[in-house]
Symmetry: C2
Subunit: 341 residues, 2 copies
Amino acid sequence: MNTAASRRRPATIHDVAREAGVSRGTVSRVLNGGHYVSPTAKAAVEAAIRRTGYVVNRHARSLITGRSDSVAFLLTEPQERFFEDPNFNVLLRACTQALADRDIPLILMIAGTEDERRRNLRYIEAGHVDGVLLVSSHSGDPVVTRLHEAGVPVVACGKPLGQTARIGYVAADDRGGARDMVRHLYASGRRRIATVGGPLDTPGGVERLAGYRETLDECGLPADETLIATGDYSRASGEEAARVLLERAPDIDAVFVASDLMAQGVLDTLARAGRRVPEDIAVGGFDDSPAALSSRPALTTIRQPWDRISAEMVRTLLARIAGEEPSAVILPTALVRRESA
Amino acid sequence: MNTAASRRRPATIHDVAREAGVSRGTVSRVLNGGHYVSPTAKAAVEAAIRRTGYVVNRHARSLITGRSDSVAFLLTEPQERFFEDPNFNVLLRACTQALADRDIPLILMIAGTEDERRRNLRYIEAGHVDGVLLVSSHSGDPVVTRLHEAGVPVVACGKPLGQTARIGYVAADDRGGARDMVRHLYASGRRRIATVGGPLDTPGGVERLAGYRETLDECGLPADETLIATGDYSRASGEEAARVLLERAPDIDAVFVASDLMAQGVLDTLARAGRRVPEDIAVGGFDDSPAALSSRPALTTIRQPWDRISAEMVRTLLARIAGEEPSAVILPTALVRRESA
DNA sequence: CATGCGTCTGTGAGCGTTCACAGTAGAGAA
DNA sequence: TTCTCTACTGTGAACGCTCACAGACGCATG
């Protein structure tokens, strides 16, 4: 290993070819799958690559193929909300690793402000990445349309709301998860089941509320709008929503909360109001975030399969890049029983 | 804007040159700072760029310049620990944005396993990035040495321990922060001040403990090894460490804990032992993470200037890439007074 | 024996930039 | 006038790779 030499001038495909006694073309073929290469030549090339420490120059390759062999992870959130969300960490981490398995670097992009959005779109539309993993919770996000119009392969995390364009996405079964939780509350004898929903311009907000409504109906409980409050997924909004609920309907015996963070806030308010959980009121969360474990009592919640979501996002994005049509993937959630319900 | 046309074949520098009635060379000069270009030509080129929607092909540029105009954010942690750490989010986010301001994409790399480490090193050593923002807490990390030997510009977050190689880094003033906290505890009348330190193979663990020791000495309090416990920054380890401390020294009236997460664990144990905070025992944390605000009572803690740390990491890395010598930057922390002390 | 086919190999061209160099024009100095 | 200097401009040659093509070889088929 000529470490010193390879540092000052990295080995090129020429060096490998010379070393192996073959032509550039043959080396290139070995690099790209090894079809139409004799076993002898292939072995010689592989040995030469090892000896020279050759690593392909991706820029040169990209220049001619037109592919960049990289993928953007684009986060479009006005606030820092997502970065505080523990789910986001899991998602980002798992996507990075799923891509790394295929030797594709992940480029992290954050488009909080209008300016950042413009810059990132410019970068993406210039063809500097082959595709985009999109994390954008809000409906009517102009980024989605722009990317779609530019013909850039996109896979969104969660169903993009209010989007006419056919765009691929991967999501947890929010509605099913909500149903499971409300059924669980009902099965444990609760009959006055309230809910704290998420923002209605997010898919989670819409679907989880729908699941709640469906299940109430299915169980024969009356639809009662005073039992429905809405938050913005923050802890503070959970506190506030619980206050409102207690005032409007003091006799509630269960709350299904659309996120663990909000559920923490709900627990705070309930504790302050002297209600015991789960004796007086059962509380069900959503996400199975670390907060669910650290809250007192520990939260019964719905686990979203983030590892599978990430894996599917990467898989479908690569399929899309390879020319397949956009697809929608919905993955099942799981009820996690702890102390609060 | 010929959106349709520009999609099937993006404008090249040739198109711009033709459109502006100048040569490739002139366009290139405008693109790279505009020196030695007449105002007329410059204006013509800029207009042509706008009309054609031209965006530079970074692959072609990189091929000849040898630079990639991208930077890696490399996380080397055996466990998921860092991803759970709220500080990490702030750091990653701020670095991404500081780089975006300079139009440099951030490539996220995670080297948890040995295999991932090898792959990422291979990528970096091949020159696919111009430099590395390194987040690695443990001493003796082989990655640091490898990168240094390969001559890749590196800036670490936190002082790399046990490293002979001169490597640039940016860190919060852990020792000073610890001093501030212990002085604060002393000033509020506490005289039996214990500590729960971090792992001693992390710079935070070492420095914060040192600051604790120095301040005890400075205040004329006796050095007492039974007052020192160690955790691994996790909440559970905080619980355990507090148990140990209470057993060894039931008369303690203050604890300086080297992280907010551990401090939460300490609070749990104290509550279970019937000790009131801050009446019986004062508790000081470190990090000013969201956990500090949500714990009951809210934690008095030390804020690390993550936004400035990120900005400095990016600044010094770019300086290093430009040829400057590695530098060490230590940034001041701030005491945040809440209820626990 | 010619023909065709499948497997393997080398060669030239070109991807879109930057860089070094050569060259032009105009201003000022000798 | 002539020379020099500065400001500006255009041109060819890379950078390292892939792709299309052409050619060579062995083998089976007609």
